[in-house]
Symmetry: C2
Subunit: 208 residues, 2 copies
Amino acid sequence: MEGRPIRKKTSLTDSKNTRQDILDIAAKLFSQRGYNGTPLRDIADAVNMKAGSLYYHFDSKEQMVLEVFTLGIESIHNTVLERVKVLAKNSPTRSILVAAATGHLEALLEKGDYSSTSIRNFGQMPEPIKSKVMVIRDKYESLWRDWLSEGLRNGEIKEGIDLSIFRLTVLGALNRTLEWYRPGKHSVEQIAEMQIGFFWDGIANKKV
Amino acid sequence: MEGRPIRKKTSLTDSKNTRQDILDIAAKLFSQRGYNGTPLRDIADAVNMKAGSLYYHFDSKEQMVLEVFTLGIESIHNTVLERVKVLAKNSPTRSILVAAATGHLEALLEKGDYSSTSIRNFGQMPEPIKSKVMVIRDKYESLWRDWLSEGLRNGEIKEGIDLSIFRLTVLGALNRTLEWYRPGKHSVEQIAEMQIGFFWDGIANKKV
DNA sequence: GTCTATAAGGCGATAGAC
DNA sequence: GTCTATCGCCTTATAGAC
């Protein structure tokens, strides 16, 4: 679940806390208004600082957003792994995918400022940042690659499925959930179960 | 297919052409770099104008992007309708969904600057624009609502499926295709067929 | 660690010449 | 219809006081 590590607040320095506060606010605003739509002044205001003071903690706005991206993707990666690793060894692929989808949505929807920033703003980032982010994103996607190819190997997934297109389609559907999900009617677990249900079982009525 | 209507270029006024050129460039840049990441100067440069001259054709940057959004969603709507209406009456729901997905992807991926702007930038727009756009977007989504509820009614879709969540999941998957599809290996028709195949038939191996 | 002050340039938008 | 010129404001980032 990865709660933020507790740090003692010494009178000598609370720099780590402040840095964390800034990143939290930045992630929230970047997610809501976009990177280019969020001036440093707004971030500073929200942590009761002047814009210039941010430069004690960060070298540039780009460094800030890169850190938000990294933590965001790592958050998804870790949450998904935690959800999956509590399953019994050799669990059916369907259960693994439901657990993974639940973790993915949990990271995205419930503790989601960092991860949603990484989903929403990636396309508009300058190339050097994109390349760095793609490395860790690809590491995360490899988890899905492995689960799916194992499912195909052991016969749980039918042959003739393009696993690459499938993976991108599932992750796309999960990521877009960010744009419409509102807490209330359904829990995140329920959404994940439904969505993987569509993909695994289909919606066709086979009784006819 | 909705090619742009041909206009004669009179020596008296080619204002409609210029206006269209500006919108085309704006859509392209908004889609690639985001609304807030695209200065009017860049749009003007690309049409060999000075930034101030754009105001002869548009009242504001916001008016420009609103127009791009509107045309983008209408483009998806129209392309989807064209793909579906060539089907035989009473075609199976699966065929309708494949045709609709093909049209959706076609609008998004092949003539996509307007429609991809509307997908990528919606979340970061100010509230008044969002509300206006949601009206036409909802009209488009109603097409899917109708096809799905008809499929449920006539027994092609199995009972117990939450059609609302399903619709949002499918459209989410289609919209996210924008972020990973590259022409070459597969055509847009093939991607649509595969994606609806996942959702309709599932990927589970039922022979086991 | 945070402040004030400011540099240096970019932004959307307007006015008036042509 | 497009230009030049400019307004007023906002932006990221830096320098030095406290």
